[in-house]
Each structure stands twice: as structure tokens, then as C-alpha cells.
């Protein structure tokens, strides 16, 4: 029962070829709750809702067993870079 972090990662990698991916299992071990941060070129030109739909679609099989999927970030590489730079300049200040 349950889905592993690795399964979630490999499905997302296969379908969205992310340049950055962070999956954390927040279920406390039962594999039913995950938090996802993903950066992919495929998000380019897509609205937030469409991006979330793409992540949901990539995890269609897994979603049958996942109760809570929290998609924290869906960014394009460009947005990701900007955010990293912003964070760096903020922490330096």
C-alpha cells in the first residue's frame, strides 16, 4: 500500500523532464501525502492552473493512493533562476 517518494519522482521525471525536482513524503511513512516542487521547461507559457493539471496528470496512477498532494512550486527554469537570485540577494542583504 501507498506510494513511495521514488515512484512519484520517477513519474514526474518521465513525464515532465524537470530541471529541478523536490519531492518530500509528508505522510509520516504511509506514502499517502507528498509535497512537490518542480521546475520544467514544459510549464513555459502555461497558467498556474494548467501547470498543476500537468502535475496531476503525470501522477494519475499514483493519485489513486495519494490522499494529499501539495504542489508548492511549478516554475519554468527562467522563473526558478530569478527566484534563486532573488533569494540570494535577499539573504546577502
Amino acid at each position: 500500500m501507498g506510494v513511495t517518494k521514488e515512484q512519484v519522482e520517477s513519474s514526474l521525471k518521465a513525464k515532465l523532464s524537470p530541471s529541478h525536482l523536490e519531492v518530500s513524503d509528508t505522510s509520516g511513512g504511509c506514502g499517502a501525502s507528498f509535497v512537490v516542487e518542480i521546475v520544467s521547461e514544459q510549464f513555459d507559457g502555461k497558467r498556474l492552473l494548467e501547470r498543476h493539471r500537468m502535475v496531476n496528470a503525470a501522477l494519475e496512477e499514483e493519485m489513486k493512493e495519494i490522499h494529499a498532494l501539495s504542489i508548492k512550486k511549478t516554475l519554468t527554469p527562467e522563473q526558478w533562476k530569478q527566484q534563486q537570485e532573488f533569494n540570494q540577494s535577499n539573504s546577502a542583504a
Binding site: T26, V35, L48, H52, R53, E60, A68, S70, I71
Partner: protein, 175 residues
């Protein structure tokens, strides 16, 4: 973050939930749907779910591919989301959300003083399954603004933080 700690408050709320709230909620939803539906049988689907449920469960295990979203239910949902400017399909009620994610969206909408219609999908499993298809969205809550699917909890939180939600809701309420 607090919105992720869904499990513990859930059990507490389930225990402390007064039975009267269930009835008052069912009545409220009944009013909504019956005023919206053209055929009395649509109301049936929402209110008599207790009697329908065992039958539905059997059907869903034998015919897995069959759609929960019947044309009749679809037209009822069309009416629900277009007649109300803001509709939240959630787990539990406004006053007793049964899940941290639903609670988050309720608190956001309440803090913005937006009148919204909340429909408890835990009351009706057929509605719950049908909505996943209707919105092409696998989880709850599901927020509709002016007849359009806006998003789930994460999208609502993000849009609230960057101000887009306030802007959209303001337009919706004024229109």
C-alpha cells in the same frame, strides 16, 4: 506549516461535531440544489444519498469504468456553479471543515468577507466522484469563481498571497 497537519484536528472535529450541524447542512444544500434544479430527481441525488450509497458502492466496484458524472448531474453542477458566484466543494462544512486543506480555503474566503456557497462532498460519494471528472481535478477542495474552476488549495493560497484572488473575487462580487 499548519495547513499540512490535517490528521489530528480531523479526529477531534469528527468527535466534537454536533449531530445537528449535519442536518442543518443537508437542509441547506437541499434548498440550494432544489432551487437550481429543474427536475425534482436532481434533488433526490443530493438529499437521499444515505439510501443510495450502498447501491452506488456495489456499482462502482463492478463497473469501474462507468462515469459518475451523469448528464443530469452535470447540468445540476453547471447550474450550481453559474448561479453562485463563488462555490467551494469541500470536505466538511464551512463551520466544521473536515480537512486542513478545505479549512485553509474556507479561512481565506472568510477573511476576504466573500459570500460563498460551500458544498460538503463527504455527504455524497456520487457527487464526490462526479466532481473529480467535472473539474478534471483529483482532490478537494475545489473552488469555482464565476462558473469557472479556479483551483485547489495550493493555487488558492498562491493567488491569495500574490493578490490575484482578491482581485478576481472583487470583480466577481461586483459583477
Amino acid at each position: 506549516m499548519w495547513l499540512c497537519s490535517c490528521a489530528k484536528p480531523l479526529t477531534l472535529q469528527l468527535q466534537s461535531r454536533p449531530p445537528s450541524s449535519i442536518h442543518s447542512h443537508v437542509r441547506r444544500v437541499t434548498v440550494t440544489t432544489s432551487t437550481l434544479s429543474l427536475r425534482p430527481s436532481s434533488t433526490h441525488v443530493f438529499t437521499h444519498n444515505v439510501h443510495f450509497q450502498p447501491k452506488l458502492k456495489r456499482a462502482s466496484t463492478t463497473i469501474r469504468c462507468s462515469s459518475a458524472l451523469t448528464p443530469q448531474l452535470k447540468s445540476t453542477l453547471d447550474k450550481v456553479i453559474t448561479t453562485n458566484k463563488v462555490v467551494l466543494f469541500m470536505k466538511g462544512t464551512k463551520d466544521f471543515p473536515q480537512c486542513g486543506f478545505s479549512n485553509t480555503v474556507v479561512q481565506i474566503l472568510k477573511s476576504l468577507n466573500v459570500p460563498f456557497e460551500a458544498i460538503d462532498i463527504l455527504e455524497n460519494d456520487m457527487l464526490r466522484q462526479a466532481l473529480k471528472e467535472y473539474s478534471s481535478w483529483p482532490t478537494f477542495p475545489q473552488l469555482y469563481i464565476e462558473g469557472e474552476f479556479f483551483g485547489g488549495c495550493d493555487i488558492t493560497v498562491e493567488a491569495y498571497q500574490n493578490g490575484q484572488l482578491q482581485e478576481l473575487l472583487e470583480k466577481a462580487v461586483l459583477s
